[in-house]
Structures are given as structure tokens and as C-alpha cells.
């Protein structure tokens, strides 16, 4: 799932064309704040109990009472979307974190481990790349059994090679950068150079990468949910809602459109924020 590769390309290639926050950035920020609220205090912003079943109220279209309508079991979709935020984001965040940590480990091995290790790790990354994302995820799930945790690990694993490649590139370019060289010329020791220059400069872009990755991880987790390998009921995870709702697309579009909208908006908002963060933190020209 190395779209991260190109996302960094996209992110890092986005120079400071505009400095002041645009409307898009403000909207994205607003949406992320809404997501945060939905994660921390879902009860405050959802009018109904997300798992309250009422078979008689099933399939109600959006109305003033049920903003996003009700699902096949009469549950309020808006409340479920809000309740699902934490699960979905948790999957997105953990998967990204797993991918990043693995990627960091591989990247550091390759970036610092000398020629042989670099070669080995590079081949490893290539091997992992040769398993396209979903394929790797499928294998992991088949081995470890389905469920949200496995899905998270699977998505994380399959994003790892992408991160590893970026991190390695980052480390190598920093290691050979003029400022690391000038620190050597001054007489600074390797440990100091590592902690003062290399790691901080390599890690800062990772945060941005992470923001960009979360949205994609949510999308991938949703795909696993469609294959029936994701979150378990009655958890109101977006991907699960999406795939459960799509059965009824012909008769009750709102079941699948609103969770889909959340996924799309989350990805857009995090990407927009990630990009603006890149622009703001990029000390490089």
C-alpha cells in the first residue's frame, strides 16, 4: 500500500505556495475537531444510543429526528457514525502506527546498518512490495484469523514497506546532507549528530506522513470489512457500516452513503491538514 510513496511525493512537492490558512484548511480543521469530539465525547454530540435496536423503525430515510436516517435494525445512523469514529480512527491510527514503527525499524537498519544490511533490507522491502497490499492483508488474516485487531495489524503490515522506503530515503539523504557534513567538520561525534540532526529531521516528516496515512488505512480497513474480515458487530465501525449498508443501496441509500461520506471526509481532512503541516514545518527550501 505504498500510496504513501506518492503521497509524500505529493506532500513534499507542495511548497509554500500559500502561507495563510485557506478556507479548505479551516474546513478540514473544523472536521477534524468534530472527529475529535466524536472520539472523546461521542455521547454529547449524538442524540441516540448507537446500538439501540428498534426493528419497527428500520430503514427510515433522513429526517429531522434521524439526520442520517436509520439502518436495517432501526438504529440512528448519525449516532452510529459518531460512535464509530473512535473505532475507525483507532484502526486507522494503530495501523498507521504499526506501519510507521516497522517502517522506521527497517528504514533505520537500512539507513545506518552499512552496505550489507542496507542491501538486505532493501531486498526485503522489495519482497514486501511484491505482495500487493490487500494480498498481504488477506494472508495475515487467514493466518491469524479475522477480526479488528488482525485487520489493523494486516493493514499496518502492508503499509510498512512503503514507510520503510521513505524513511530509508530520508535517512540516507539526511546522513549525506551538507549540514550533517558540516557538523562532522566542526568535530561533533556520531551520537550527537544522530540525535541532534538526523533523527529529528527524519522524524518530523513522519508525523505528516502519518496524518496522510490514517485516511488510507481507514479505507483499507473498510475494504477488509467488505470481505467480512474486519470489525465485529455491533461495533459501529465505518467500514463495517459501509459494507453492511451497501446491500441496501437500491432501497435505502442512506445506509451506505453517510458512513462513506465520513471516510471520504476524514481522508480529505487529514490529507489537507497533513499537507498544510508539511508546508508549515518544512524548514527545507
Amino acid at each position: 500500500m505504498s500510496e504513501l510513496d506518492l503521497r509524500t511525493a505529493a506532500a513534499s512537492a507542495a511548497p509554500a505556495r500559500r502561507a495563510r490558512p485557506g478556507v479548505g484548511e479551516l474546513l478540514a480543521l473544523g472536521f477534524v475537531l468534530f472527529l475529535l469530539a466524536a472520539t472523546i465525547v461521542p455521547g454529547l454530540i449524538s442524540p441516540f444510543e448507537p446500538n439501540a435496536i428498534s426493528a419497527r423503525d428500520a430503514f427510515q430515510p433522513p429526517s429531522l429526528t434521524h439526520w442520517f436516517g436509520t439502518d436495517e435494525s432501526g438504529r440512528d445512523i448519525y449516532s452510529r457514525v459518531v460512535a464509530g469514529t473512535s473505532t475507525s480512527l483507532l484502526i486507522g491510527v494503530s495501523a498507521t502506527a504499526i506501519g510507521l514503527v516497522l517502517g522506521l525499524a527497517l528504514g533505520i537498519l537500512a539507513g545506518f546498518g552499512g552496505r550489507v544490511l542496507d542491501f538486505t533490507v532493501n531486498r526485503t522491502i522489495e519482497v514486501l512490495f511484491a505482495f500487493p497490499g490487500l494480498l498481504l492483508a488477506l494472508l495475515v488474516i487467514v493466518i491469524a484469523g479475522p477480526g479488528p485487531v488482525t485487520a489493523t495489524i494486516a493493514v499496518g503490515l502492508s503499509t510498512a514497506p512503503g514507510y520503510a522506503r521513505i524513511i530509508r530515503g530520508q535517512l540516507v539523504s539526511i546522513r549525506t546532507s551538507a549540514y550533517v557534513e558540516s557538523a562532522r567538520v566542526l568535530g561533533h561525534g556520531p551520537f550527537r549528530i544522530l540525535t541532534r540532526h538526523i533523527l529529528p529531521n527524519a522524524l518530523a516528516p513522519l508525523l505528516v506522513l502519518a496524518t496522510l496515512g490514517i485516511g488510507q488505512a481507514v479505507v483499507w480497513a473498510a475494504a477488509l470489512s467488505y470481505l467480512g474480515l474486519g470489525a465485529q458487530p455491533p461495533a459501529a465501525e465505518w467500514g463495517a457500516m459501509l459494507s453492511a449498508g451497501r446491500t441496501y443501496i437500491g432501497t435505502a441509500w442512506w445506509l451506505t452513503v453517510f458512513p462513506g461520506l465520513m471516510i471520504v471526509l476524514t481522508t480529505i481532512a487529514t490529507t489537507v491538514l497533513g499537507r498544510s503541516l508539511t508546508r508549515r514545518t518544512a524548514g527545507n527550501r
Partner: protein, 538 residues
């Protein structure tokens, strides 16, 4: 003389900012007019405005803008397109960037023909070869199918000129056409422009360096803050500058300025002492650094390639050794070998007669602070996350504990305001960055500074300030400099002794005055002959 270009009250603004104000000038057939000014003075914007390329958000107005008889003051984009290429050509700095790296030269040159003429493919091809021959491209047939990256800098610039004059436009704009080129190549390009001028083409030449333009410009327009401060015939202007600003520009050119004369006629900065305490008084000053028999080979596509071939040099306390050579001659590799950033294949570097390059990195580290370095691209040598204060603090920590400057003192020493301490180098100007870079080099109390093209990326006036600063610091602190540059003017002005490098070898070495006045090696002689001087056109 008929005017090819008539401009009256040209004003260019971006939003609320006016960058060019009320310019009026004319250029005649076969005349070369130069606009000279520092970066940001508005000279490039002026040039582009004459092509209708000032930029999407610009507002351009002029009471008159006539190009070979066509009124372009109210030209539409379509009108402009008819003019560009056919009536006016443009040559930009940095031909590597100015030619599409993905397209063959022949296609790039042929574009103007394709757009403005009805030549058949075969005719166009013949014309392109003709043009390439005209600009002095060796083997034009071959060059046609090459891409810009496959050519050397000089050939690229020739190709770019060929593209600009493809349709023989009566007017040519050359924006810094020789900046970043080696002196010998620079001279050839200027010759080429001169020959184009002689064919009757009017040329507008844009540069920050008076010495460069003085070679071919008939008239000079000195520009500052979007206005002309002084205009006039080149000889008059050089010999009798009326304006203070023009005088500063002239003074800043280091060529032929004696060693240790300030290049900035400064009111604020005290003139550096004429005599140097140690270097001159001490009968035989100690050798602080010596390198002997340095060899470095690199793997190249076709076999191995000796970047540095048996180079020996030494540096005594308080002196400047100038290392001059064209790009690719191995200067920078020598610097890296001396700094022990690259392992030499053979040869030794001694610091105070003690082994330096032979040490293991761990053993060498304590000695590193004694050799400082400043680079051409100072920005990239700073950690982008750190502020100036932290950059300097990091370096101060390496100085001997009993001999440490504060950040404030360092900033003072390089003539920077204290407020700079809290900013990051990205937000400083080129001159300020180079000062920070010098301050950092000084912070660890070194005895030697390796200066690798420290002023090559700077405007002449800023270059003058930095050179003055280096001079002053050397005098105050008894530093020894290994000063690397491709610019003979700078080298001559800065060096006590000079070593000339060519193809990895030192071909000539000796006291600066001797080398420059009486070059022994033909290569040195050619370099000196080609260096631009402040002089009216031939």
C-alpha cells in the same frame, strides 16, 4: 540609428507592490544596452515585461512600448505570442534549467521555427544546423539529438542562444547569460553575444556584475529599487560615475583591486589594518597545514577517473592560499580531502605538522574544530530546524572551554544584528547566511578556514561585503585561509599565494602578484586573459 525598442514610463506591479517604476529607455539597432543592479532591483522583471511575461498576477503599464515598429503597450497574449521568438529572443541564466531536459536540443531550437515560419522539416533541420554552427557548437549534427543534460555548461548556453536567435530577431534579451559559468567559457559567450550584436541585433543585457557587462555593453542603465539611478555610455559611467550607488557597484568588483583593500567604501566599518600582525612580522611563520601527494580516483562510466592527482600544498599562519580552477578541476575534492571528509587514495594531510588525515575518525575528532569550513551553498549546511542561535551554540561548545565567544559576540564579529539569533537561516538573505556560516566556523576558534567558493552565489555588492569581512577577520585573528574559487578576480584580491588547478593537478603555484603578472603556465595565462575586467567595450 533606428530604435528597435522604445520604452516610456514602464511600470510593473504585483498587487500593491510596485517593483518597476517609470522606466524609459530605447535600444538601437546593433546596440547593446546593459541593465545592472543587485538581485531584487527589478531588472529581470523589466526584461520579462518586455516579452509580456511579467507573470500572471502582474500589472504592466507603459505609455509607450514599441518593438521594431510594433506597438505592444496594449498587446494581447496572442499579439505577444506573435512577437516572442520572431521579433525578440530571450537568453536566460542557467541553460541547464532553461532548456527542457527531456527534449533534444534540435527540437528546442526548432520550436521557434515551427511556431513562426513555414519551413519544412528538412529546411528547419538545415536551419538548426546552421544556427548551431553559427553559435560555435562543435559537431552540430550530433548536438541536435542530444538533450541539454548531455552537454557542458558552455555548449548549453550556446544552444540556448541559438534557440533565441533562430528567426534572427532584431532584438535579444540576455538575462545573466554568463552567471555560474567558468571564466573562459564566460568570455566565449560574451564574444558570441558581441558577434550577434555586430550583425545588427539590438541586445538588452542584464547582470549584477558591471565587469561582465562592461565588455560588450555600449550603454549601461544602473537600476536600484525598480528605478534607473544612473544611465549613460559605458566608458563615461565607469570612469565618471555620478551616483554613490554606481560608485559602490564599481568598487565592489574585486578584479584588479589590490590585496586587503576594502571593496566596500564603508562609513560604518573601520578599515582593516593594512599590515597584518603576525604573518608579516614573523620572519618565517609556521606551516599550519600541509598536504602532500594527495590522490583521489573515482569510478566513472568509462574506467577510473583521477579527480585529484598528486596535489601538494601548504598553508602558513595568517596567509591565504588561493586555489583557482574551472569547474571539474578537482578543487572541491581537495577541500574534502583536507577536511578528511573523503579518504585519499594516497597522500597525507598534516595539521601543525601532526598527522590529521591518517588518524582514525575518533582520534581526529578533537582536532577538527581547528579547521573550519564555509561553503558556497551555506543554506544547505544548516540544519533546517535550528535557529541561528542554536547553530552557533552547537559550534561554540566545541571551542576550548577557556576561549569561548558568546553568540552575541560572534554575531557582532560578522556584522549581523542580534535579532538574527532567533530566526532560521531559511529566512535570511544570501549575504546574511554566509555571515552566519562564517560565525559558525569561527565559533570553535579554528586556526584554519577552508572557504569553498564562499561568494560565488552572491551579488557583487554582497560579495564585496563578505570578502571584506573575511579579510578583516583574518587580520584580527591571524587565521589562515584556503580560499577556493573559479573567479580570478576574487582569488587575486584575496590571496597571498595562488595555486592553479586543472584536471586534478596543480599546474602553477606562487605568490599572487607573480602568478597574475607573469603567468608561467599557458592555462593560467588564458584564465587571466579571460577574466572580466571593468573596461569599456572593445
Amino acid at each position: 540609428m533606428t530604435h528597435i525598442l522604445d520604452v516610456d514610463q514602464l511600470t510593473v506591479s504585483f498587487g500593491d507592490t510596485t517593483v518597476v517604476r517609470d522606466l524609459s529607455f530605447a535600444i538601437g539597432q546593433g546596440e547593446c544596452v546593459a541593465i545592472v543592479g543587485e538581485s531584487g532591483s527589478g531588472k529581470s522583471v523589466t526584461a520579462r515585461a518586455l516579452l509580456g511575461l511579467a507573470g500572471r498576477d502582474s500589472q504592466v503599464s507603459a505609455s509607450m512600448l514599441t518593438l521594431s515598429g510594433r506597438d505592444l503597450a496594449r498587446a494581447t497574449e496572442r499579439d505577444w505570442r506573435g512577437v516572442r521568438g520572431s521579433r525578440v529572443g530571450l537568453v536566460l541564466q542557467d541553460a541547464l534549467g532553461s532548456l527542457d531536459p527531456l527534449r533534444p536540443i534540435g527540437r528546442e531550437i526548432g520550436d521557434a521555427l515551427r511556431l513562426h515560419s513555414r519551413l519544412s522539416a528538412e529546411q528547419a533541420r538545415t536551419r538548426v544546423i546552421e544556427l548551431l554552427t553559427l553559435v560555435g557548437m562543435p559537431d552540430p549534427e550530433r548536438a541536435m539529438s542530444q538533450r541539454s543534460g548531455e552537454l557542458s555548461g558552455g555548449l548549453r548556453q550556446r544552444a540556448l542562444i541559438a534557440a533565441a536567435i533562430a528567426l534572427d530577431p532584431p532584438f535579444l534579451i540576455a538575462d545573466e547569460p554568463t552567471t555560474a559559468l567558468d571564466v573562459t567559457i564566460q568570455a566565449r559567450i560574451l564574444d558570441l553575444l558581441a558577434s550577434i550584436k555586430d550583425r545588427g541585433t539590438g541586445i538588452l543585457l542584464i547582470s549584477h556584475d558591471l565587469a561582465v557587462v562592461s565588455a560588450i555593453a555600449d550603454r549601461v542603465l544602473v537600476m536600484k529599487d525598480g528605478r534607473f539611478v544612473e544611465t549613460g555610455d559605458t566608458r563615461t559611467l565607469l570612469e565618471n560615475p555620478r551616483e554613490e550607488y554606481t560608485r559602490r557597484l564599481i568598487a565592489a568588483v574585486p578584479t584588479d583591486k589590490p590585496r586587503r583593500t576594502p571593496l566596500v567604501p564603508s562609513e560604518t566599518m573601520a578599515p582593516a589594518p593594512k599590515t597584518v600582525p603576525m604573518a608579516v612580522q614573523d620572519a618565517s611563520p609556521p606551516v599550519v597545514l600541509s598536504a602532500s601527494g594527495l590522490v583521489k580516483t573515482y569510478r566513472a562510466p568509462a574506467g577510473r577517473f583521477r579527480a585529484v592527482d598528486d596535489v601538494s600544498l601548504h598553508l602558513v599562519r595568517g596567509e591565504t592560499l588561493g586555489l583557482v580552477g574551472e569547474s571539474g578541476s578537482g578543487k572541491t575534492t581537495v577541500a574534502r580531502l583536507i577536511l578528511a571528509l573523503t579518504d585519499a587514495d594516497a597522500g597525507d594531510v598534516l595539521l601543525d605538522e601532526e598527522p590529521f588525515s591518517a588518524l582514525r575518525e575518533r582520534e581526529r575528532r578533537p582536532f577538527r574544530r581547528r579547521i573550519g569550513a564555509i561553503y558556497q551553498d551555506s543554506l544547505s549546511s544548516f540544519d533546517p530546524r535550528l535557529t541561528v542561535r542554536r547553530i552557533l551554540d552547537d559550534a561554540v561548545a566545541l571551542a576550548p572551554p577557556d576561549d569561548r565567544s558568546t553568540v552575541g559576540e560572534l554575531l557582532d564579529a560578522v556584522g549581523l544584528p542580534q535579532s538574527v539569533a532567533t530566526t532560521r537561516p531559511l529566512y535570511l538573505s544570501g549575504g546574511q547566511r554566509q555571515r552566519v556560516s562564517i560565525a559558525r566556523a569561527l565559533a570553535s576558534r579554528p586556526e584554519i578556514l577552508i572557504c569553498d567558493e564562499p561568494v560565488s552565489a552572491l551579488d557583487v555588492t554582497v560579495q564585496a561585503q563578505v570578502l571584506d569581512l573575511l579579510d578583516r577577520l583574518q587580520a584580527e585573528r591571524g587565521l589562515s585561509y584556503l580560499f577556493i574559487s573559479h573567479d580570478l578576480g576574487v582569488i587575486r584580491h584575496m590571496s597571498d599565494r595562488v595555486a592553479v588547478m586543472k584536471d586534478g593537478r596543480i599546474v602553477e603555484t606562487g605568490h599572487a602578484t607573480r602568478v597574475f603578472d607573469d603567468p608561467q603556465h599557458p592555462y593560467t595565462a588564458r584564465l587571466i586573459a579571460d577574466a572580466p575586467r571593468l573596461a569599456a567595450p572593445r
